[in-house]
Amino acid sequence: MKKLLCMSLVALMAATTLAGCGSKKGESSNATEGEKRVLKVAAFEGGNGGDIWKNLEKAFEEENKDVDVQLQLSSKLDEELRPQMLNGEYPDVVYYNMGQKSGFTETMIKEEALLDISDVFTGDLKDKLAEGFAENAITQPYGDGKTYLAPIFYSPTGLWYDASKFEDGKVPATWDEMWAYGDKLKAEGKALFTYPQSGYFDGTLFAMLYQAGGSDYYKKALEYDTNTWNSKEGQLVIDTVAKLSKYTWDATVANANSDGGFKKNQQAVIDGDVAFMPNGNWVVGEMSESTPENFKWGFMPLPAYEKGGDRYAYTFFEQVWAPKEGKNHDDAKAFIKFLYSDKAVDLMLANKVQNKDGQMVAAPVVQPIKGIVNKLDGDMKLFYSIYETEGVLPALGNWATTDTIEGLDFKKAVYGAIDSLVDESMTADAWKAQLNDTFAKCKAALK
């Protein structure tokens, strides 16, 4: 009797080890629930907050009474979506950017797992979108004219500074004026330049390439043209960055690499220790807690190479896409189209996020449609009007998509080396060799 009891208890114990092994096979993933069609939207909850997506969900459901939007908001969206997708559950629309550590969107692009949404950007919407946003290497990653990612929330990037330091408005407009100003600052024990993290150099590098060689050179460079760095334009860019690294604040690298340390570099500009840093307008909201009341941000494109030359500001935008394996393609496309409607645009401009004291502060996000500048005011109008200034042009685009290249860490090879230029553990020539080597590998693996 005792033995029987013992054995059954042991068997029960053995069975409980399998308790956690259930899988969610029971869910019938129909795209309809009752009367309404289901649209699954997965959105990353980041600096712009999650409220905007809740508002968009409500607005879309109002206009489309036969659709039920199921919103999945998470600040760790990639970690949630990976196992879901491996299990066969795909959302219909995803808001998750390229350039994240998890490389989630890049992986989806490399695996050709995205839905072709070219037909969303035709007709009215095509005319409504600002120039260049519908056709560039980010939204059309395979270079075949088909759009796979939708551009949202754009932001011009450039050099940010403390406006009060330039009361007379005489900001350096050429690189020579920058170096002169940098020498003056060195004498005062301050630094000319810092950067939050070496990855923020992407916008700067793109703009420099564009400025050095014009639009043809730039487009070829994005496709890893072998001549990019060997030409005189490429050398100009390398020399400029190398010289800039000599004027960079020495605590930059130490702060840049630690988690959250990039904010210290940004704070240095607010505190007056450093003059310029490359960034986008999200920095205003990001640093709002530690910025004094009367601080005024100044924003300018990169200095020109010579007097009267073109100046470029790279435009950064975020992306929305639809997985091929999502069940509801039609409503996914309708939702993406909806993001550019007047209603959605107004909701985005009115967006608020909660700051650490629990108060709601304005954090408008801007859609790349023509004439949007007229709807902005105050500082936002100033930042977004950058392209209305004489001689300032927008740079758009990204490195062309390649197949997976094992053993290559692109960001580290191209931008991470700048850290080594700053702490002088690498020479400009060594960086050039590394760039050539990286470009050769990427060109061989172009999709």
């Binding site: 033995k3 092994c21 550590k101 490389g103 050709e112 988690d259 580290k412 080396a417």
Partner: protein
Amino acid sequence: MNKRKSQRRFIFACMAPAVILITIFMAIPTFNVFRMSLYKWGGISNNKTFQGLKNFKILIKDQNFLQSIQNSILIITLVTIITLAIAVFFAAILTQEKLKGQNFFRVIFYIPNILSIVVISAIFGAIYDPQSGLLNSVLGFLSLDNLKRMWMGDPNIVIYSLIFALIWQAIGYYMVMYMASMASIPDSFYEAAGLDGAGKVKQFFVITLPLIWDNIRTTLTFFVISTINLSFLMVQIMTSGGPNGQTEVFLSYMYKQAYTSSAYGYGMAIGVVVFSFSFILSAVINKITEREALEF
């Protein structure tokens, strides 16, 4: 005969839960890692292409990987040797000297081990801060300005900053273990040795060390495994691989390849190498330190 059989069945049933758990959560995933390293895969969808040993061929020539091996070996070696020496030393003092407040010190030394590695990284991030960090501020206060450094920025010393943080975290754990095994050594040995004229130091090397040798051998395996794991966590938070790969370790490189670079199969190949490396290293260490067990 029947009794033996039923005894066997009973033993088998008792072991079943543990065996099942180990199979499902350790053996099968390890086998999967080995299997996935033979494919070229992005990690999300189901398009895999069989590559054979291609990933490994690329791995051998990968300079970044070689750098991460160097860094990992440096970290493991230094952390093991220094922590071992300091932990044994402190354990000996605390057991031998019968200091007042022995328990109090035990608690203080053990606290770093309880702290989550995220907290420790944050603490050291603040200490090493070049502008307002504790270290540079104290040096400035003592007028030792020329010793000030960019602890996390200077490529030559950033890895030693990490090693120091790892040592600080590990000392308590091993010290407590050694104290436990030292406490079981009878006092009579020390008294007899003292009568024979042996000083404290001699007693330590001749009596204490050989008698806790087995314990030290076990902890050497712990050192290897936990250093590999903790160095990954610390690198992720404090340096992300550091200025141009100076603090890249095995696992952080594997993460970057598997996720950020979408080369999941390649990341798994790195995983295979890490697994084999730690296995072989532990086996080698075990063999080298083998001695006749001393009974007392």
